[in-house]
Symmetry: C2
Subunit: 415 residues, 2 copies
Amino acid sequence: MQAEIITIGDEILIGQIVDSNSAFISKELNKIGVAVYQITSVQDDRSHILDALEVAGKRSSIVILTGGLGPTKDDITKHTLCQFFNDELVQDDTVLQHIEEIFKKYISTPISDLNRKQALVPAKATVLHNANGTAPGLWMKKGKTAFISLPGVPFEMKNLMKNEVLPKIIKEYKRPHIFHKTIMTYGLGESAIANKIEEWENNLPSFIKFAYLPNLGRVRLRLTAKGEDREFLQATINIEVKKLYPLIGDIIVGEEEDESIENQVGKYLTQKQMTLATAESFTGGKIAQQITTIPGASSYFKGSVVSYATETKIKVLNVPEDLVKKHSVVSEEVAIAMAENVKKILGTDFSIATTGNAGPTKGDSDAEVGTTYIAISTPEHTFAQKFNMGNHRERIVQKSVNKAFELLLKEILKF
Amino acid sequence: MQAEIITIGDEILIGQIVDSNSAFISKELNKIGVAVYQITSVQDDRSHILDALEVAGKRSSIVILTGGLGPTKDDITKHTLCQFFNDELVQDDTVLQHIEEIFKKYISTPISDLNRKQALVPAKATVLHNANGTAPGLWMKKGKTAFISLPGVPFEMKNLMKNEVLPKIIKEYKRPHIFHKTIMTYGLGESAIANKIEEWENNLPSFIKFAYLPNLGRVRLRLTAKGEDREFLQATINIEVKKLYPLIGDIIVGEEEDESIENQVGKYLTQKQMTLATAESFTGGKIAQQITTIPGASSYFKGSVVSYATETKIKVLNVPEDLVKKHSVVSEEVAIAMAENVKKILGTDFSIATTGNAGPTKGDSDAEVGTTYIAISTPEHTFAQKFNMGNHRERIVQKSVNKAFELLLKEILKF
């Protein structure tokens, strides 16, 4: 049982947008036991799309296409599907009614013929209802292969996947189980980890695939098993994961991919009914932003003072001007004062503070680009650590954000 | 002159990571006149990689591979290249020396045999120096096609592209010019725009390709021309763009893709020597974070108070408790107070404030999920607007951030 994804649109091939749709579709298919063999991004070009459909259809039982269903001239997916299936476009009255309703409810401009044309669908297609947009999804069959065409707008595509495509696949296909488990580690590089677990890795059962995914100071370790018996797969993987703890337990911060570190911070703070605030300088609000992507964050996150300018640290965070003058704004002392003061001002149990220089120029301080201090304040104490995060602005920020969560989580777990 | 990209790694096909490398590579290739025909993501599987190399090599003169060059067992790209080229791995002493230096300088764990093995390269390959990592890039030729293998770590790949791959392509290949221009619009949907510019679009010269890229309240319009005479292409596109202004000038906020709206805000604030602060509730620091991705933001951005909890609005932003009680925390009055007070506290010329409910539950207020207020304060006045941003958490936040920048930019341009 194998699927392929074809994304249609020049914007991907000229690098104007990143293809995040395919990652979402792949993840959802994997969850229901459908492996994705290949992802192919092709141009808004009829013959290129036809080639891709032909090749994918020969290999895989499900081919999901995204993009090219909009109302404008550059959208050619429906016409190309008609050519591939030797079919013609006909009006679907239910879709037309839905389009008219959307315009009435949400859109201030009047409905036009271009919009009405979105109700044209290939005669042989099963229409999939797009609750969030005007371009319907399409499900067409050639031989044993299902070709499923979805709009490229992520919000519409995701909803169609969840409410139409996945239920239909589950109903119509027998699928094996695919079980992934991901272990998040912080603090060691991939080759150092590989050395520590070499024997364990060599002795893994052959139906378990193992991979290292390094990224900015964290390495994720992924185990994947595929087979008929879900419980057996899951049990075997859990046994193997347990064996990892005596080997690298000190660097493991969590299991399961969805358990991001900010998720864990949220989970434990909620459990312990404790609260958090941040005072961010060079991270510019990125820590707060990552915290608040988690639904329910308002129960433990009180807020952040993004004190990008030195004067903001003094005025809002009450960092003494003398302290800044004496130690420089990028210093352990200022980081600690920021953490303690934001905790006091917002009345929280924990706080994170960052001060540093993300470059490209030195800004308000004399610190070298890449020098950063991260301070953590807990109900019991406050400390700051100094890091050299390299010389690449984006990386300096993201590595520091990762490190801040890592330091914080360790402290939270002590309470 | 056409290229293809092959990304290697199960993590993409199971949806664990989004393939952002391909977008970067495509964009860089386009800039030097190399069109990307297709992007293909394949599994960590030898026969699948071989198939992809075979197919791409027949179509395109440049094939760029990313991923699978790490030190661990799941990394098989080098072995597969040896099979494809009927070649064998030999040690490259310069690479070995570089790996040893990296370990001495940056890595606390001792160097291991796994790390040293990264100095093994196919005998027929030209080695490309990876200044930021231990896995070298490889350039190999089969017939007329160059196969270029790069590590999957974005930071290492980007540096290799810029310093090794692009200069070598420029030196060795004659290339046409590809000229893109993107017009950013805010406030109208794609079909409404298409209706307004229908005649213009129908009369575009045939060598100009035109596309609509809708996304959360903004539509980007892209014109692309390809040919030998760069100046002619550029002039023709500029003439066509000029004709757009009488038709839709009221919704155009900028030209060129790299000119993001936060870039423009930064550019104009720097020019006018004016400053900005933000007070963010449900946007959770995302506005501050987008502002501070721009190098040099510290010259105009003083900071943000991320007042996620109502008490933070009261304590730090001095929003009167009575005002919150009387109008609710999600209200025009509170948004305006937040904007005025953060401007006063941080001493800036402009400010943005947001308050609203991004869901999934009602949080501190009685406002419906999706109800948001955005306030802008300028040296002359303060106003707030109410929006209904739908019911999807991420979208509510991103649409509001986009809208806030749009409202702010309009005000900045008046000074």
